[in-house]
């Protein structure tokens, strides 16, 4: 137990700055007790008592405590928003004092309505990405449920502000005078009912969010089961049936691996006729399936496919086919980079290699399908190879504007 008896703020449980939470922790009471006390004192002293809060905020050091990035960002946002709102209010009050003012009956309801609308608009924005998601599913569920309940309550508050602004405007214009005591009684009853129902509303909102999270989880599990059945289990069944053909089994496993990786990464279906990255990936898959050699593909960037790029893809396919033919069991890699001005692809293998100068002139695969094809499109192809040290083919072509 810490020997430090300093009264500290508790920003982790703060509504504003954690002053009341810190006092409650020291006194061993619920934070609501000092909070209500501060509100009563602030009202009782016409707002001046709120300065005591500021004084304590300045005087009390904060509890040193690590907080997740997201909570820090969000709490900061709230304070900034409230701070800006108060500064705006201060400017309005200054204008009012200076006499640059329409009328209280118009401006204050407008301010109240603007605040309510701003609150409602802020709730329509998606929540920021969470950098520190809790590890356990239960903790995640509780957090989601708490957040959903908080959003519902804020929505209720925003709606109440807008309605309140309307009522205030009508009251200030004397429209409600006719209703008189009846309107006042109705307001008191509505406020009372609201206070009574608030805890129930809170619990209902949380259970609603929890139920929704549970339903989403069930759907995700069902989708996962269906996908595993349609892909992995079917492939495993095929592998058992073709166990006597290692090449076939390896090809099945490779195809399944590729599909599973794409699924896990949430990758969209390939568009080999439209995008250069997909065309290169499709070429690698085609060679892999026909030749049975594993090919590692890395493509950085992407752009639409045009004639020069189609030539680059075709040359890369030819280079991959050669690599698969001569690289034996070695690994083949295809690396491509799409830049603003040009697209470059490298195909390399750790195969037996060869001397490019000694390639017979009747071997058209290298000279025509790779080098000639690239040069006809204004591109460039270079083959670097040495016997016993593998081969690297570099293909490069400018992008059309």
């Amino acid at each position: 137990m810490s020997a430090d008896r300093t009264l500290r703020r508790d920003p982790g449980n703060a509504m504003i700055a954690g002053v009341c939470a810190g006092i409650a922790r020291r006194l061993g009471v619920d934070p609501i007790v000092p909070r209500v006390g501060f509100v009563v004192v602030a009202i009782g002293t016409s707002g001046i008592g709120a300065l005591a809060y500021l004084a304590l905020w300045a005087a009390m050091p904060a509890e040193a405590r690590e907080r997740p990035e997201r909570r820090r960002r969000r709490r900061g946002s709230w304070r900034i928003a409230t701070g800006v709102a108060l500064l705006a209010l201060s400017v309005l009050l200054v204008f009012r004092q200076l006499g640059v003012w329409w009328s209280d009956a118009l401006v204050w309801p407008l301010v109240l309505a603007a605040f309510g609308v701003a609150l409602l608009i802020s709730l329509t924005r998606p929540a920021p990405e969470d950098a520190a998601e809790p590890a356990s599913e239960e903790a995640r569920r509780r957090r989601r449920s708490r957040e959903a309940a908080g959003r519902l309550s804020l929505a209720g508050f925003g709606i109440a502000l807008v309605l309140g602004a309307g009522l205030l405007f009508l009251w200030a214009r004397g429209v409600l005078n006719a209703a008189g005591d009846v309107a006042l009684a109705a307001v008191v009853v509505i406020v009372g009912v609201g206070l009574i129902l608030a805890p129930l509303w809170w619990r209902f909102a949380r259970s609603l969010a929890a139920e929704r999270a549970q339903r989403i989880r069930s759907q995700e599990r069902a989708e996962l089961s269906a996908h595993l059945h349609d892909s992995v289990l079917q492939t495993l069944a095929l592998v058992q049936r073709r166990a006597d053909d290692p090449a076939d089994v390896a090809q099945l496993a490779r195809r399944q691996e590729r599909e599973l990786r794409a699924w896990l990464a949430g990758a969209p279906p390939l568009q080999p006729d439209e995008r250069v990255a997909d065309a290169l990936r499709a070429a690698a898959i085609e060679v892999e399936e026909t030749r049975g050699a594993p090919i590692e593909v890395v493509v950085v960037g992407d752009c639409p496919l045009d004639e020069p790029l189609e030539a680059l893809v075709a040359a890369a396919r030819e280079a991959l086919t050669n690599a698969a033919k001569f690289a034996a069991d070695g690994q083949i890699r295809l690396y491509a980079e799409v830049e603003d001005e040009r697209v470059t692809a490298y195909v390399d293998d750790r195969g037996e290699g060869f001397d490019p100068e000694r390639v017979p002139s009747d071997r058209r695969g290298l000279r025509e399908s790779i080098i000639g094809r690239m040069e006809r499109q204004g591109g460039h192809a270079e083959v670097r190879s040495q016997p016993g040290r593998g081969t690297e083919v570099e293909l490069s072509v400018g992008r059309r504007r």
Partner: protein, 63 residues
Amino acid sequence: MSRMRDRVDLTSLVAGAAIAVFGALILLQEEGTIDLEAGWFLAIVAAATGVVLLASGMGARRG
């Protein structure tokens, strides 16, 4: 020097300055040097609280 700078809590500094300014205004009011209406006081309280909240929020965002 830099260690000292690291220890400065911007929120506390701004809150302290706001309270000092507010205290000075009350003092001047009591002395009769200035004559502030309630509206002006409200504006000052709102501005002080707003500045403190803004400083605190920005401090929290910086981490």
